[in-house]
C-alpha cells in the first residue's frame, strides 16, 4: 500500500444487459455513481475528484468523452481524470483513483468504469486492419484461441475444463441480480453442444457484449471511518495495488503465462503481506473472458503450480463452496462491458469484504483479490482488499 490508507467506502452498479437503450452515456454512468454515493452515505458535493475509465472511444463513437461528462459527473470545478489501459482499464482506473487518496492529495474520490458496447460492434472494432496488424484474427477470441490451445497442450488438460468454468460462472451469475446473462437452464451438455466460435472456444464459453457501469467511492482513513459510522458497513481497506505491462510481442515472451502477470501478482502480494496466496486469500474476482483463462490465471497468479490450474478447477476448488471461490459474481463470462469489467472485478472483491454481495456472498471473506488484464494478455492490474486496516 501507499503512504496513506485508502478504503472502498461505497459501491454501485447498473444492471448489465446487451442494450441499455433507455439511458444515454451520462445517464448510465450516473445510475452507478449515485448508487455508490448512496452506499457511502455521501453526495456529489462531498467528492473531491472524479477518476473515470473506459476502453476505446470508438466503441461509443465519442472522442475523449470526459469533457462532455463533466456536469453529469458532478465534476465542474473539480479534477476529472480519464484512464485508458485496454481491457485492464477498469482495474487501472481504480488504482489511479486510489493514488489520488494514497498520495494525500484528496479524501474522497469517485471512480467509474463503463462501456456501452451496444453502440458499436466490439468484435470488429478489435479486428485491426492493415497496416496496424496482420489480418489473421477476428476479434479477441480469435486472438486468444491459439494461446488456450497451447495451454491445453502444455498442461495435458482434459477438453472439458473450459466447460466446467463456464457452467460455474453462469450458475454463479444466477445469484447476482446485476449480471447480464441469466441462463437458468444452462447445463454441461448445453455448453458442450453450443457452436464452436474460435476452436477450442465455444459460444457458451465466451463473454457477452454488455452495456453497464460500475462505480466506487474511495476514501481516506478519516473518510472511511465517517462513512462506516454512517452506513454501518465496514470499509474494504486497500492492502496493495499493482500494475504491469509488457509488449505484445517480445523475444522470449510467454503469452500463455505472461511475466507481467507474475510480476504484478508478486508485487501486490508483497504489499499485502501475502506469502501463501492459496491460504491467505479468501476469494478472487478474476478477469476470465474466455473460460480457459480461469485455470491459466490460477497458475499465473501463483495459486497452484504451472500445469495444475485445470486440476484446481476440476476439483471444484473455485466453486463458491470450494476453498478458493473464483468469480462468485458470474465474472466476465456473464457480464462484459469492457471498460467496466476490470472495475467490476475490483469492486466485487470489495463487496465480498464488506459483506454486501447478497446471494453470491461467500462467508467470512477477510481478504480478496481483484484482477484484470488487457491487450494481448500484456497489461495487468490487481488489488488486494481486506477487512482490517493495513
Amino acid at each position: 500500500m501507499g503512504a496513506n490508507r485508502v478504503a472502498v467506502i461505497g459501491v454501485g452498479q447498473t444492471k448489465y444487459t446487451a442494450v441499455r437503450g433507455d439511458v444515454s452515456m451520462p445517464g448510465l454512468i450516473r445510475e452507478a455513481a449515485f448508487r455508490a454515493l448512496e452506499d457511502a452515505h455521501l453526495t456529489m458535493a462531498d467528492i473531491d475528484a472524479v477518476v473515470i475509465g473506459k476502453a476505446p472511444d470508438f466503441f461509443e463513437g465519442m472522442m475523449m468523452p470526459e469533457t462532455y461528462l463533466a456536469e453529469a459527473l458532478g465534476a465542474v470545478g473539480k479534477p476529472l481524470f480519464r484512464v485508458h489501459t485496454a481491457g485492464s482499464v477498469g482495474g487501472s482506473t481504480a488504482i489511479v483513483a486510489a493514488s489520488h487518496v494514497e498520495s494525500g492529495v484528496h479524501d474522497r474520490v469517485l471512480t467509474i468504469g463503463w462501456q456501452q458496447q451496444s453502440v458499436s460492434e466490439a468484435m470488429w472494432a478489435l479486428s485491426f486492419p492493415i497496416p496496424f496488424q496482420q489480418q489473421l484474427v477476428a476479434g479477441a477470441g480469435g486472438y486468444f484461441a491459439p494461446f488456450i490451445r497451447e495451454y491445453m497442450r502444455r498442461s495435458n488438460a482434459p477438453d472439458d475444463i473450459g466447460i466446467l468454468v463456464a457452467l460455474k460462472d453462469r450458475l454463479n451469475a444466477l445469484k447476482n441480480p446485476f449480471a447480464h446473462l441469466h441462463e437458468p437452464d444452462i447445463t454441461f451438455d448445453s455448453i458442450k453442444e453450443s457452436f464452436m466460435l474460435w476452436e477450442p472456444i465455444r459460444y457458451s464459453e465466451t463473454c457477452p457484449s454488455s452495456d453497464g457501469a460500475f462505480a466506487m467511492v474511495l476514501g481516506s482513513e478519516s473518510a472511511a471511518e465517517a462513512s462506516a459510522a454512517a452506513s454501518g458497513v465496514r470499509p474494504a481497506w486497500i492492502h496493495g495495488t499493482a500494475m504491469r505491462s509488457e509488449p505484445a510481442s517480445a523475444s522470449g515472451r510467454d503469452q500463455i503465462t505472461p511475466q507481467a502477470g507474475k510480476d504484478c501478482a508478486a508485487d501486490v502480494y508483497a504489499q499485502a503481506g501475502i506469502t501463501n496466496p492459496r491460504e491467505q486469500i479468501d476469494m478472487v474476482e478474476m478477469y476470465v473472458p474466455f473460460s480457459w483463462y480461469e485455470p491459466m490465471w490460477l497458475e499465473n497468479l501463483g495459486f497452484t503450480p504451472e500445469g495444475e490450474g485445470w486440476k484446481m478447477t476440476e476439483s471444484g476448488a473455485t466453486q463458491m463452496t470450494g476453498d478458493l471461490p473464483v468469480n462468485c459474481s458470474g465474472g466476465v463470462l456473464s457480464t462484459n462491458p469492457i471498460g467496466a469489467s476490470g472495475m467490476i472485478r475490483f469492486g466485487e472483491a470489495a463487496m465480498q469484504v464488506r459483506g454486501q454481495a447478497g446471494d453470491h456472498q461467500v462467508d467470512g471473506v477477510n481478504t480478496a483479490l481483484g484482477h484484470a488484464y488487457g491487450g494481448a494478455a500484456q497489461f495487468f492490474a490487481m488489488w488486494v482488499v481486506g477487512s482490517e486496516k493495513p
Binding site: T67, V83, H84, S103, G104, F132, T241
Partner: protein
C-alpha cells in the same frame, strides 16, 4: 494529509514538431525522444519506477493505438505502466501522484500524436456533446471563433491584439529549433489576410502538428543526482469547467483560476509562463485567469501557435518551463495545459529551481 515528497523534472526531450511525419510510424516518431530523455541523465528504462503516456485513439484512427506505441519504450522485462486518453500533462499528474503515494521514486512520461492523416478540426468535433453539438459538426476552429467573437464583443480584445499575440509567439519561435512555424509577418500583413472562421484568421489558429515529448521526473536526491538544477514541481492541479458552452461565459475559464490557486501560482514571482492557448485570444483568457503580472515572459518557445502536437502540447509547456529553470534562465515558472474545446479543462503546474 498533503503530498509531502519533493519531485522535480530532471530531463525533457522532444521530436521535431512538423506538419506531417509521413514517413514515420508513431513508434518511430516518439522513440528517439524517449531515449534522448533517458540518455541525457545516463538512465535506462530499468532505472524508471513508473511509465505513463498520453495519446488519443481518435487521432491514431485505431482502437487501443497506445498498445503498439508501448514498443517505443522497450517494456521488457515488464514495467509498471499506465496510459491516459488525455494530454501528457495529465500523464505527468498521474506519475506525480504515484511518487507522492510512495509507489515509485522516478517516472518516465511521454505523449504524442500524428494528427496529419485526418481532418483534425472535424475529428475534434467528435469530442462535443453527441446530441446537441455533435450533429452540427462544428469544427474546432468554428468553436474557437465563437469564443473570440464573445471576447471582441465584450471589449476585451481586438483583432489587432490577436494578431500581435500571433506575431509575438511566432517570432519567439525563431529561437526554438523544434518549432513548426518560426517567424511572423507584420501585424498589418496578418490583418490583411482573409478570415478562416470569422473573426479568426489563419494566424489566430494553431498549426496542425505531428510530434511528441518525453520527460523524466524524480523525487528528492535522485532528482539532484540526475540534474544539476532540477525543476521542482511546487504545485500541480487540474480542474474542469462545464461543457454547456451556451450557458457559460466564454470569455472566462474559471477552472484555470481554481487550478492556479491550488497550485500556488501567486505564492511567488513568476519569471516565465508557458501557456497552452491554441488560439490567439485564448492566451489572454489564460493569463488573466492565472493572474500573471504584465512583466511575465509568456511563451518564449512560441507556444502552441508555433507548434501544436495534440496530446503533447500541454506536456510540452511544462517541458519548456523546466528547460528554462534547469538552464538557469528562470527561477520560478508557470506552465498550463488544456484539453477539450474552448479551454474547458485545464492543468496548472508551478516549477522552481533551488
Amino acid at each position: 494529509m498533503s503530498p509531502s515528497r519533493e519531485v522535480a523534472v530532471v530531463s525533457v526531450a522532444q521530436t521535431p514538431q512538423r506538419r506531417a511525419a509521413t514517413e514515420l510510424s508513431e513508434v518511430e516518431m516518439i522513440q528517439p525522444a524517449i531515449y534522448q530523455a533517458l540518455d541525457q541523465i545516463g538512465a535506462t528504462i530499468a532505472d524508471i519506477g513508473f511509465t505513463v503516456s498520453g495519446s488519443s485513439d481518435y487521432l491514431a484512427g485505431q482502437a487501443f493505438s497506445f498498445v503498439m506505441t508501448l514498443d517505443a519504450v522497450g517494456a521488457w522485462p515488464p514495467i509498471k505502466e499506465s496510459h491516459v486518453e488525455m494530454d501528457g500533462a495529465w500523464a505527468l499528474y498521474e506519475a506525480w501522484l504515484k511518487i507522492q503515494a510512495g509507489h515509485a521514486d522516478t517516472a518516465l512520461i511521454y505523449s504524442y500524436s500524428k494528427a496529419s492523416p485526418g481532418d483534425l478540426p472535424r475529428v475534434l468535433s467528435r469530442q462535443l456533446d453527441p446530441y446537441y453539438y455533435g450533429p452540427l459538426w462544428p469544427d474546432s476552429i468554428a468553436m474557437a471563433g465563437l469564443q473570440a467573437r464573445a471576447m471582441i464583443d465584450a471589449g476585451l480584445i481586438t483583432e489587432a491584439d490577436m494578431a500581435e499575440i500571433a506575431q509575438r509567439n511566432r517570432d519567439a519561435a525563431l529561437s526554438n529549433p523544434f518549432a513548426q512555424i518560426q517567424g511572423s509577418a507584420s501585424v498589418d500583413e496578418l490583418l490583411s489576410q482573409p478570415m478562416m472562421s470569422d473573426p479568426l484568421r489563419r494566424h489566430d489558429c494553431p498549426p496542425i502538428t505531428d510530434g511528441g515529448v518525453a520527460m523524466v521526473i524524480a523525487a528528492g536526491d535522485t532528482a539532484r543526482k540526475w540534474s544539476d538544477r532540477p525543476a521542482w514541481i511546487r504545485g500541480i492541479d487540474h480542474r474542469v469547467d462545464s461543457h454547456n458552452f451556451g450557458a457559460r461565459d466564454l470569455t472566462r475559464a474559471p477552472s484555470i483560476a481554481i487550478a492556479a490557486e491550488k497550485a500556488g501560482v501567486s505564492a511567488g514571482k513568476v519569471d516565465v509562463a508557458e501557456l497552452h492557448a491554441p488560439f490567439t485570444h485564448q492566451e489572454l483568457i489564460v493569463r488573466t485567469e492565472l493572474g500573471l503580472a504584465d512583466d511575465v515572459l509568456v511563451n518564449p518557445s512560441g507556444g502552441s501557435l508555433a507548434a501544436n502536437p495534440m496530446m503533447a502540447a500541454g506536456l510540452l509547456r511544462i517541458a519548456e518551463v523546466a528547460n528554462r529553470i534547469s538552464a538557469g534562465t528562470a527561477d520560478r515558472g508557470v506552465a498550463h495545459a488544456t484539453s477539450g474545446h474552448l479551454l474547458q479543462q485545464n492543468l496548472v503546474c508551478v516549477l522552481e529551481g533551488e
